[in-house]
């Protein structure tokens, strides 16, 4: 570790560092263990891709809602009762037979939390952030989403305050399914754009 003035001495284990900062801030009344536990539980149980899946399924069955969603993502998502962080400026982009959308944040980890939950580590780690803008066709194939060379790829780098959600194509052969059954087919990865449902 080269940061700071301890040449050659490894840092304290990250759990110890986190505990040290937590304790010292708790002693100043700025945080409590109970609050951390409550936040952890909230993120684990209240947020997740099930909300985004509900949005996608509604757009699949309701053409008017789909149009509204593509025109004003934030408002359309709120109308389904979905609230939460990181969707204040939500743009929804729709896949079609000739275009495939995929979302990345090359600078950090921007992601529409309220519809997808917290991002997975692969979305936040260097390989994805580095390569999705440089060689998206290769990377998508590598991640299990090969596209015909005639399909245009639109990469969305979340570099400001807009957040992006991909509306995947409705899979063939799902005409008889209910909205809830359709939602069960929608994966997180398909809404990031690295998979198709």
């Amino acid at each position: 570790m080269t940061t700071g003035h301890h040449h050659g001495t490894p840092p304290a284990p990250v759990e110890r560092r986190a505990a040290a900062l937590e304790e010292l801030l708790a002693e100043q009344g700025l945080v409590s263990p109970e609050y951390i536990d409550a936040v952890q539980q909230a993120y684990e149980t209240q947020l997740g891709p099930m909300h985004g899946a509900r949005v996608v399924a509604r757009a699949w069955v309701d053409p008017a809602y789909r149009e509204h969603l593509l025109a004003n993502g934030t408002r359309a998502v709120h109308e389904l009762g979905i609230q939460g962080p990181e969707i204040e400026h939500l743009t929804v982009v729709a896949n079609g037979p000739e275009v495939h959308h995929v979302v990345v944040c090359t600078l950090c980890s921007c992601y529409p939390w309220a519809v997808l939950g917290l991002p997975p580590n692969w979305y936040k780690d260097p390989p994805y952030r580095a390569r999705m803008v440089r060689e998206p066709r290769t990377l998508l194939a590598e991640m299990g989403c090969p596209l015909h060379e005639s399909v245009e790829i639109q990469v969305w780098d979340s570099s400001a305050e807009s957040r992006y959600l991909v509306l995947p194509e409705r899979p063939p052969g799902t005409e008889g399914l209910s909205e809830a059954e359709l939602a069960a087919l929608v994966t997180r990865d398909s809404m990031v754009g690295v998979a198709v449902p």
Binding site: A20, A38, T106, R129, E161
Partner: protein, 231 residues
């Protein structure tokens, strides 16, 4: 749900009066296009938090900045961006949050590094100090472009915080969409004032950006007015 990351808390970095430049390269976070990081490693069974300390790190960013003046989401990002490149690239995601939280606590006088290290029982690496004090990009505060305009991304290397991705600098794209006016991060991290200017989604051709043979790939990025110029 009480979420810990405030996007609007307007609390402050020490006021800056003069521009001092101490370095010459951009931060390790600006990863677009960097090669040789290898395969994307997906863990389909990954939990939301892999350990309690990850959730704690998230909350501690808010706790450590609660009394910091002029503190915004941009300040948090800038603290992460000032991490040593070896530390940044070699540590898990929430260690970035922990390091930013501890750095903020020390820089605002809430805690000392010695206190942290004594309690942790070993070295507690922090982010490097800012390399610039003062605003490098004062912004335009303007909305100079409209959808369909050809624009070039300024070729520059600010030492402080910016949200202008390095891989697009110097390249020409087309304004796809004009968003509203948004506070310019380049200013808000480095000064208590706010400059609001228009953000655009700009579309680039990947084959042009990288100078390779890829076709049918477009790159869309959201860029503030002052990041752009007429080609």
């Amino acid at each position: 749900m009480n979420l810990p990351v405030s996007r609007t808390a307007d609390t402050g970095w020490p006021a800056a009066s003069r521009a001092v430049t101490l370095g010459s390269v951009d931060g390790p976070h600006d990863l677009g296009g960097r090669m040789d990081f290898g395969a994307v490693r997906v863990d389909p069974r990954e939990p939301v938090f892999r350990a309690r300390w990850e959730a704690a790190a998230m909350v501690l960013v808010s706790a450590a900045s609660a009394r910091a003046p002029n503190y915004t989401l941009s300040s948090f990002r800038y603290a992460v961006e000032r991490m040593d490149p070896v530390h940044y690239l070699g540590s898990p995601y929430y260690e970035h949050w922990l390091t930013a939280a501890a750095t903020t606590a020390v820089e605002t006088g809430l805690l000392s590094r010695e206190q942290l290290e004594k309690r942790a029982g070993g070295p507690f690496p922090l982010a490097h100090p800012p390399r610039v004090h003062g605003v490098e990009n004062p912004g335009t505060g303007a909305a100079r472009f409209t959808a369909g305009d050809r624009v070039r991304v300024r070729r520059w290397h600010p030492l402080g915080h910016t949200r202008c991705p390095g891989y697009l600098r110097g390249h020409v794209g087309t304004v796809l969409r004009r968003h509203g006016a948004v506070s310019l991060p380049d200013v808000e991290v480095h000064a208590p004032r706010r400059v609001r200017e228009t953000v655009y989604t700009v579309r680039f051709d990947a084959g042009e950006v990288w100078g390779d043979r890829q076709t049918g790939v477009r790159l869309n990025a959201d860029l503030w007015d002052s990041y752009l110029e007429t080609p």
